[in-house]
């Protein structure tokens, strides 16, 4: 495949690593989630434009809508955690530990 796709794919992999391996703040995983969404958007737009796949031209927009919803959800969860504990440290999420 061409170098562009590899580049964008690598951006996605880096964001995925950032999502799965965060240290303490929940916000950093949400930011990486946004990074993943961004790279997916770029990849999809590139694929549609390069292949003249006109019928799928609206899929990036739909992806963006769903990304926005998901970001809102993630932020609301963050706000809930922050309301209870004051910070968003991930070690606070230990209620189910026995």
């Amino acid at each position: 495949m061409s170098m562009v796709y590899v580049n964008i794919f690598l951006a996605f992999i880096v964001s995925l690593m950032g999502l799965l391996m965060y240290r303490s703040h929940l916000m950093s995983s949400l930011l990486c989630l946004e990074g993943m969404m961004l790279s997916l958007f770029i990849m999809m737009t590139m694929a549609v434009l390069n292949n003249h796949f006109t019928l799928a031209s609206m899929t990036p927009i739909i992806l963006l809508v769903f990304a926005a919803c998901e970001a809102a959800l993630g932020l609301s969860l963050l706000v809930m955690v922050s309301n209870t504990y004051g910070t968003d440290y991930v070690q606070n999420l230990n209620l189910l530990q026995c």
């Binding site: 995925l16 189910l96 026995c98």
Partner: protein, 606 residues
């Protein structure tokens, strides 16, 4: 004929005069006790007239004055029944009260409220008269409650003392339980026979009279301190000695027995009730005689002696001899009141010492009291030809020769010998031996009030039995012929009791005191009855109500069953089935490792 009516009503009215004049200046002076005493002596003298008329011609009378109220078909009027029982009882009660009033002029001399004391005693006497002369149950109940109230006021005379207050409350509560039986009998008579006056009750035929007779028996148990409702009588010794002498030996406690005697035509036919009465009386007389053996307070021993004699009276009713029971009531009043007055004399002389272990050697310093105590005890145990003999010996003889319950008979005989035993104990500890009291006690019995009152009752204790039993109209015929050993049973048991008690006291005088045995503890603590019954039912009912109201309703139904149990259950279940531990970073890490591993494996696969 008119003389009986007018003299009896005059005697009753004379008793009311000191109460009526209690608002005047006379009540505040220090002549009031003397006034009350002479009032009672006049009332006694006037009430001897109906007795003479009754003895000579057997005239009885029912006075029905004033229609009080009519409730639909029930007509209540103020009616006095002057029959055999009331005509003979009234002079006896007035004589004993006269002596007690004179005694309390000496005993309560330093009390600042002595006028009120005399007023209370007089009010008690009036309500007792109402009880005795009542022809219908309503008037009897008025007298019944009246004696209960005056008993409460008089037992709690020294109300600063906590024990006196609890004793007065105890008396009221136990009497109240008996009153339930009385009210049940009244209700039964009202609904089934439509009458509260005795004549109609005795005439009307009814097939089963068990229910009202049970009620009356319960009332007698409460008022006359039979077993089961007996603890109030020894506790009532917290009151002053004149109160104990009047109420709790001669007059009030015989009200229950008097009630049963009044209803003897109903009890004659009912064999079941007679058996119940007999067994109740037998248990009472034995139990209280056992308890009297190891008490150390002289008034308590005499109180238990009263209780035992009351049980004997109930036994007499149980063998269908109401007239003998009544004779025992009259004779018992004399010597029991005298015993109380002698103990009052001893107590005051030893500076308010009531424990017989700290008396002794009063034989020489107090000769008159010693004499009357010994004669009273002998009369109590039924020494031949003193007062008690004429009633008590007849009772034992009749019980021996009647077709009765052998166990009750045996128990009564044992109680007779125990009577002699504890009487010996009183005499031995209080009078004989070396003195055990403080040496500076003001032993003095020189007061004429004391001497005259005890002297009157002394003469009564010796002669009254003979006089009464030889002058009354014939009633149920006593058993005249019986084998020699049965005739001598009572005397033999008494003599055996005396000898045993004297020997034991003399032998044990110089022995070392061992730890009390179980039997001693049973007897000394009144059979554990007050300890258990005063605490256990109240604690159980209070904890039951607390558990049902607070625990059951509040905490279980409203709190625990649905709300808390659901949340608790959910939490338990979720921790049980979930294996998530909230270790988010580890989960993400494992996700990533799986991804890379799978990528590596799949990409380098051929």
């Amino acid at each position: 004929m008119n003389l009986l009516t007018s003299s009896m009503l005059t005697a009753m009215f004379i008793l009311l005069l000191p109460i009526i004049t209690s608002n005047t200046q006379l009540y505040k002076s220090n002549l009031y006790p003397h006034y009350v005493k002479t009032t009672i002596s006049y009332a006694f003298t006037i009430s001897m007239i109906p007795v003479m008329m009754f003895i000579s011609s057997g005239q009885e009378m029912t006075i029905s004055n004033w229609c009080w109220l009519s409730i639909q078909t029930l007509k209540l009027s103020l009616s006095f029944k002057l029959d055999y029982f009331s005509i003979i009882f009234i002079p006896v009660a007035l004589f004993v009260t006269w002596s007690i009033m004179e005694f309390s002029m000496w005993y309560m001399h330093t009390d600042p409220y002595i006028n009120q004391f005399f007023k209370y005693l007089l009010m008690f006497l009036i309500t007792m008269m109402i009880l005795v002369t009542a022809n219908n149950l309503f008037q009897l109940f008025i007298g019944w409650e009246g004696v209960g109230i005056m008993s409460f006021l008089l037992i709690g005379w020294w109300y600063g003392r906590a024990d006196a207050n609890t004793a007065a409350l105890q008396a009221i509560l136990y009497n109240r339980i008996g009153d339930v039986g009385f009210i049940m009998a009244m209700a039964w008579f009202l609904t089934n026979l439509n009458a509260w006056n005795l004549q109609q009750i005795f005439i009307t035929q009814h097939e089963s009279l068990n229910m009202p007779l049970l009620g009356l028996l319960l009332a007698a148990t409460g008022k006359s301190a039979q077993f089961g409702l007996h603890p109030w009588l020894p506790s009532a010794m917290e009151g002053p000695t004149p109160v104990s002498a009047l109420l709790h030996s001669s007059t009030m406690v015989v009200a229950g027995v008097f009630l049963l005697i009044r209803f003897h035509p109903l009890m004659e036919q009912n064999k079941a009730m007679q058996t119940l009465t007999l067994c109740l009386g037998a248990i009472t007389t034995l139990f209280t005689a056992i308890c009297a053996l190891t008490q150390n307070d002289i008034k308590k021993i005499v109180a238990f002696s009263t209780s035992s004699q009351l049980g004997l009276m109930i036994v007499t009713i149980g063998i269908n001899q109401p007239y003998l029971a009544f004779l025992h009531i009259c004779t018992h009043a004399f010597f029991k009141a005298m015993l109380f007055m002698c103990s009052g004399s001893i107590i005051h002389s030893l500076n308010d010492e009531q424990d017989i272990r700290k008396m002794g050697g009063l034989y020489k310093p107090m000769p008159f009291t010693t004499t009357s105590l010994i004669i009273g005890s002998l009369a109590l145990t039924g020494m031949p030809f003193l007062t008690g003999f004429y009633s008590k010996d007849l009772i034992i003889e009749t019980a021996n020769t009647s077709y009765t319950n052998a166990w009750a008979l045996l128990v009564t005989l044992i109680a007779t010998s125990l009577t002699a035993a504890y009487s010996t104990r009183i005499m031995f500890f209080a009078l004989l031996g070396q003195p055990r009291f403080n040496s500076l006690s003001p032993i003095n019995e020189n007061n004429p009030h004391l001497i005259n009152s005890i002297k009157r009752l002394l003469i009564g204790s010796i002669f009254a039995g003979y006089l009464i039993s030889h002058n009354i109209p014939p009633t149920t015929i006593p058993q005249m012929t019986m084998p020699c050993h049965l005739k001598l049973t009572a005397l033999a048991m008494t003599i055996m009791g005396f000898i045993l008690a004297l020997e034991l006291n003399l032998v044990a005088k110089n022995l070392k005191f061992k730890y009390p045995s179980n039997l001693f503890k049973f007897s000394n603590l009144l059979g554990y009855f007050p300890i258990v019954i005063h605490r256990l039912p109240s604690m159980m009912s209070l904890t039951m109500s607390q558990k049902s109201a607070s625990m059951l309703l509040d905490m279980i139904w409203l709190e625990n069953v649905l709300p808390k149990s659901i949340s608790h259950f959910q939490m338990k279940m979720s921790t049980a089935v979930s294996n998530q531990k909230g270790l988010v970073k580890l989960y993400f890490l494992s996700f990533m490792i799986t991804l890379t591993l799978s990528l590596l494996l799949l990409s380098f696969h051929e």
